[in-house]
């Protein structure tokens, strides 16, 4: 890739977001261990290059659907860590007033159409967002994050077929971290890649190194341009690895330690930091980012802790947009 095209500011911003996501999630794991956090916490530690590279290829007006492993998706698309943290603590100051939690963070203003607890369910939602842009004649692109395992869900097939038939401006972004929960993708599919499935829809399909943020950035930019030019959808597969358990508490004993250690050496943040140092970035600049992120996440946690829970009366609020009381009562 021709790094010349991009500014140092851009790179530092990408780096910052990767660190932001990492530190946000490490903080979560600490809180979880201490029993401060409830529910299922799925971290994307190790996958930050895929997430940040992808979201930087999008404009602010573009849309995404995130997954159950969605903290990174949301942050990279512009979500604030304090409101995120508050949501994960179930506080009323969170993105969803505490009602959604980790698997349901959404901010429509930021183009985040929601994380989703149902594997594969975000794919049709993203497709519908793409359809909307086509109907309205506007040029936003919608990008759907999903995992390797989600690509075996029927919605993958159905949605991409429709998007291809109608040339919808959607990018189908497969984060191939090689595992569902404990199941290796190789044991439940018989193809070399997920991207090869693009042939079944006659659309572009490409695989890239998901731990190389710049490779991801450039690859997704092409797919986004393709969509923006009304040439239709494509599949981008980023091969990466989830460094922690499926959710906090999962010892991940179904995978070999050796493989995990190999991937640890390919840590995307470390790798990108080294690349930046080879360019005109100094260690001090990186350290400053690190420190700033530490402070931001600490403050985010404090914000969450200081925020109140929603009032119990909110339990019956917002089930319906109209006639809520009556429809909830009977």
């Amino acid at each position: 890739m021709s790094k010349k095209k991009y500014s140092k500011e851009l790179f530092l911003s990408m780096y910052e977001d990767m660190v932001r996501i990492r530190k946000f999630e490490i903080k979560l794991t600490e809180c979880f261990m201490k029993g401060m956090l409830a529910g299922n916490i799925h971290t994307c530690v190790g996958q930050e290059a895929t997430i940040v590279g992808t979201c930087y290829a999008l404009e602010k007006r573009d849309f995404i659907t995130a997954t159950h492993r969605g903290h990174g998706h949301c942050i990279a698309k512009g979500a604030k860590t304090d409101k995120m943290m508050a949501e994960l603590f179930g506080k009323v100051t969170g993105y969803c007033r505490g009602k959604g939690g980790s698997m349901h963070v959404a901010d429509l203003d930021l183009g985040i159409l929601g994380a989703n607890g149902i594997v594969g369910a975000g794919i049709p939602i993203a497709t519908g967002s793409g359809l909307t842009s086509k109907i309205k004649g506007t040029d936003e692109v919608t990008l759907s994050f999903f995992g390797d395992a989600a690509s075996n869900q029927g919605t993958f097939h159905e949605s991409i077929n429709m998007a291809s038939a109608w040339k919808l401006p959607v990018v189908y972004l497969c984060e191939n971290n090689q595992y569902g929960v404990s199941v290796n993708i190789k044991s439940v599919t018989n193809t070399e890649s997920i991207a090869v499935r693009a042939k079944a829809y006659n659309i572009p399909g490409v695989t890239c190194d998901g731990n190389d943020v710049l490779a991801v950035f450039e690859t997704v930019q092409e797919a986004v341009a393709h969509a923006r030019d009304k040439k239709g959808p494509s599949i981008v597969e980023c091969v990466t690895y989830r460094m922690r358990g499926h959710y906090e508490g999962d010892p991940a004993s179904y995978r070999s330690k050796e493989v995990t250690e190999e991937w640890a050496k390919k840590d995307p943040i470390k790798a990108f930091g080294e690349k930046l140092l080879e360019m005109d970035v100094t260690q001090e600049e990186l350290d400053a980012i690190d420190a700033a992120m530490d402070a931001e996440i600490e403050a985010a946690m404090q914000f969450a802790l200081d925020s109140p829970y929603p009032d119990v009366s909110e339990v019956t609020l917002d089930v319906y947009a109209s006639d809520n009381e009556r429809s909830v009562a009977r």
């Binding site: 009602k99 901010d107 519908g128 359809l131 917002d318 319906y320 947009a321 009977r330």
Partner: protein
């Protein structure tokens, strides 16, 4: 006053809403050239073009989920399942996405979509094409559920459903499509959640909806000859439920039969019965009795299918049981 069949009335309602609001689209199989098997969208493709008449592949799960996504972006999709029985392949986007999105996002976003689905037995369509399945929807918080019995109601209610900001399940009985009835002049909308007392009476209340309203009226006429004065409530909307109408009638007649075509076990009739038990127990002179479809698979063979779902004679028997006559 002119007469329209229910299928034409729904078509007219949808047509008016599509003219009124360019965000309204229709989504489903065979919606284009064919205009749907019952002619509901006949001519829509020519009138509104392929951007607003989305003729889909057979991919119910994804085109329903796609409609949720479009609704979150401000489109107002009217999605069709060709038969309600197919909800089995499209339940997730309805129960876990459309129904829950507003709440899970803390009120950030609405999902103003309508899912239209033909229901009902009596057409010899056998096990997988003859169900009603209301409870699959009424049990899920976040959904509204409508089931009209007349063309005039169907038109007014489909318009309300399209304008509603919540996901609305709109259940159309296949054996009502061809029945013609008087239509009101001019534009009108019938609000969701308002029942209709289609026959006043003082001895017993029949609460029902959809095609069974017609059977209940037939039964009531028969019973009138025997001196039994039946009140018939057409609920029109199951969620929200018009409790005031139920309460007023029960407080007057003190005897109740709830009639539904669908399977009795865990049917919506049981919900109504238990609500009456809980809140109007002292008003009751007799136990609320349900007349409902048998807990069996819809059979194909005509004599068996006829025995499967309630007919006016079953309703008459139910009323007599309650009144102990």
């Amino acid at each position: 006053m002119s007469k329209l069949s229910m299928s034409k009335a729904i078509r007219e309602g949808l047509y008016e809403e599509m003219l009124r609001d360019e965000n309204v689209i229709v989504v489903g199989e065979d919606m284009g050239t064919m205009g749907n098997p019952f002619g509901i969208t006949l001519g829509f493709l020519d009138e509104f073009g392929p951007n607003r008449v989305i003729e889909t592949p057979i991919s119910e799960s994804s085109f329903t989920g796609m409609s949720v996504g479009a609704a979150m972006r401000g489109i107002r999709p009217v999605v069709e399942l060709m038969y309600v029985d197919f909800i089995g392949v499209a339940m997730d986007p309805i129960m876990n996405q459309a129904a829950k999105m507003r709440y899970m996002t803390g009120g950030q976003v609405n999902v103003p979509m309508v899912l239209r689905a033909p229901i009902g037995a009596g057409r010899r369509n056998a096990g997988q094409h003859s169900q009603c399945l209301e409870p699959l929807f009424t049990h899920i918080p976040g959904l509204k559920v409508v089931a009209p019995s007349t063309p005039a109601d169907a038109k007014g209610l489909i318009k309300a459903a399209v304008r509603d900001d919540d996901p609305v399940i709109f259940l159309e009985h296949k054996l009502l499509y061809a029945i013609k009835d008087e239509m009101p002049e001019g534009e009108y909308v019938i609000p969701l959640g308002k029942a209709n007392v289609v026959r006043e009476g003082k001895d017993v209340t029949i609460i029902t909806w959809s095609r069974q309203v017609l059977f209940a009226k037939e039964a009531a006429e028969e019973l009138a000859k025997e001196g039994i004065d039946v009140e018939v409530i057409d609920l029109r909307t199951l969620v929200p439920l018009d409790w005031e109408a139920i309460k007023a009638s029960v407080s007057k007649t003190h005897n109740v039969v709830v009639v539904q075509e669908g399977y009795k076990r865990s049917g919506f009739a049981g919900e109504i019965s238990s609500q009456i038990m809980e809140e109007l127990f002292d008003e009751l002179d007799s136990p609320v009795y349900r007349v409902a479809g048998l807990n069996v698979v819809p059979p194909f063979s005509p004599p068996l299918e006829d025995a499967f779902f309630p007919n006016p004679q079953d309703i008459i028997a139910g009323v007599k049981k309650v009144l102990e006559v």
